[in-house]
């Protein structure tokens, strides 16, 4: 299988090696065509965003206004903070120049003169590696004003790294823009969309690191070639990050549409001790979890996973074996979203707190079966009622985990019974009593 994003070429992170293997040929080719041609090719290739929502990249680029006096910007999202995702760092480390080449082609296509590469602050090592690559690209004339003479074209762009500082929410595109502007990372209300009003109120496109790295091969080898790889409606390869209970966790670049079971058992070496799988989260912690007995035939692309009741997300597959305590898992995930909620919208700010509180109560042994319904109800009240998708990201694991693993969660709670004990004041009402409060007299 041919790899697109992380080719098996040793030392590809060295500029000489990159150039020897066709580096910046795609950029040359791109500059001989019009920006609209480039957008058209990316549209036809079927490339979809790798940052979570799998939105059509060419279509997103086409939203950028053609006639405007305002500067335009590209933001490349390398915040990579979704639990279970650790793929973009491989690009920073092993193929930084293809990301840079993708950035300049994208800037040319959308008419941006500045691209900001947002990298999470904890990635010190990868920020350094990426900065070295950018410095080299400037020296060799692949970035900045020198591009004009290097490529013989009346266009140039700059690429700057903006270092995050530990906030998951800054991966959300509008929060990311606020963070670049030097503000608190609060998501913005949409519309207006970034292509209309983005960075400093100017037209802006935001794409994931892996998305941008896919661009040079599409331009160089053609959209037909790309569109034939993997699942037809979600073509190309994905950097699948597999973690949790597998023998060989790691990042693997494979065509979309591969069977989830193949990924777990053949690629990642199966589950330690040959245990059964209880649960798999297929696309990073925000995506609905699947039961171990729901995995057969599920393919790893946007359409198949939607049909299976989940989503592709970032392609971060988290595997849990039969001995996993799902209550602990759900509590940990919910704690994360509560901690990372920016607090702007009440359903998200309060709801994540309530869900964590209820789950803690259950963990301490004081939950009742009704708490499970309450959790689902709180989750449903967050879903769709917030400014950004973090609300949904917090609600989905709770809602689907409890719905799909109700049998297991029932084991962690006390059954609630409704006894027809007449209430003294309102004799027509029933009082609910937990089983523990009933003393049996013999």
């Amino acid at each position: 299988m041919e790899r697109i994003v992380l080719p098996e070429i040793p030392n590809l992170n060295q500029i000489d090696v990159y150039l020897k293997n066709g580096g910046f040929e795609a950029a040359k080719k791109a500059f001989s065509q019009t920006p609209d041609d480039i957008i058209e090719q990316v549209k036809k290739s079927g490339l979809r965003g790798r940052g979570g929502a799998a939105f059509l990249t060419g279509l997103k680029w086409s939203f950028m206004p053609k006639t405007t006096d305002m500067p335009k910007y590209l933001c490349i999202n390398g915040d990579e903070s979704e639990p279970g995702s650790f793929k973009d760092r491989q690009i920073f480390e092993y193929n930084p120049f293809q990301l840079i080449e993708g950035a300049i082609i994208t800037c040319y296509a959308i008419g941006a003169k500045i691209a900001y590469l947002y990298i999470r602050g904890e990635y010190h090592k990868w920020i350094k590696l990426m900065q070295q690559a950018i410095d080299t690209a400037y020296e060799k004339g692949f970035l900045g004003e020198k591009m004009k003479s290097t490529f013989g074209v009346d266009f140039y762009c700059d690429l700057y790294i903006h270092k995050g500082a530990g906030a998951y929410i800054c991966g959300e595109e509008s929060s990311l823009m606020n963070s670049i502007e030097g503000k608190r990372g609060y998501p913005r209300v949409k519309p207006p969309f970034p292509a209309q009003k983005g960075l400093w109120g100017c037209p802006t496109t935001i794409n994931n690191v892996e998305t941008i790295t896919n661009v040079p091969p599409i331009i160089l080898k053609g959209w037909e070639w790309f569109s034939k790889i993997g699942a037809p409606k979600h073509p190309g390869t994905l950097l699948f990050g597999i973690s949790g209970h597998v023998n060989k966790p790691g990042v693997y670049e494979l065509p979309t549409g591969i069977l989830l079971t193949e990924l777990i058992y053949d690629v990642a070496g199966g589950v330690p001790g040959n245990k059964k799988i209880k649960c798999v989260i297929p696309g990073g912690s925000s995506m609905p979890p699947l039961r171990g007995d729901q995995l057969e035939g599920v393919r790893m692309d946007a359409e198949s996973l939607r049909a299976a009741g989940s989503a592709i997300g970032t392609g971060g597959v988290i595997v849990m074996d039969e001995d996993t305590n799902l209550l602990k898992v759900l509590l940990r995930i919910t704690h994360f979203y509560h901690h990372e909620s920016c607090g702007q919208c009440t359903p998200c700010r309060e709801g994540t707190g309530w869900m964590e509180k209820i789950l803690k109560r259950i963990e301490q042994g004081n939950g009742t079966s009704k708490d499970l319904d309450l959790l689902v109800s709180v989750a449903q009240n967050i879903e769709g009622n917030t400014i950004c998708a973090l609300g949904d990201a917090a609600a989905w694991p709770v809602k689907f985990m409890i719905q799909r693993f109700r049998d297991e969660f029932e084991k962690y709670v006390k059954p609630q019974v409704v006894l027809p004990v007449p209430n003294k004041v309102h004799s027509m009402r029933f009082t609910k009593i937990s089983l523990d409060n009933i003393v049996l007299k013999s």
Partner: protein, 157 residues
Amino acid sequence: MSFKFTEENLKRLENERKKYPESLAAVMPAIYIAQEQNGYITNEVMTEIADVLGIDKVDVLGVVTFYTMFHTKPVGKYHIQVCTNVSCMLRGGYEIWEYIKSKLGIDNMEVTPDGKFSIEEVECMGACGYAPMIAINEDYYENLTKEKVEEILNSLK
């Protein structure tokens, strides 16, 4: 305790400033540089950042308090960050966390009396496939066991 950027750091900051059309955008790089110089962010540090960038101090404060990587209290010479998020948890992240807590005798965001170590329970660090993991200052340590952690801690002088 007054705070002034060193000449060299002022130059670095000027360089960062050039990347953006507005000076407010250089506030995060400025805080990073200040934290490197001073160890943590104080009231005086924020005044200096606001003065140098020509922005309101309240905007500096707002950013400092929003992001977890900006510290308003001193941390240890070695700031140990332990990930306990889901992928790490499944592979023993909490055992590593408990072990480090008891070995150093401190809790989350505390510093040992000699100022050598501080510890922080952190969210996913993007190392899920190499779990469990910790980071010490800027460096990642992956695929850990208690034994390996002990070795690492003992090697820190």
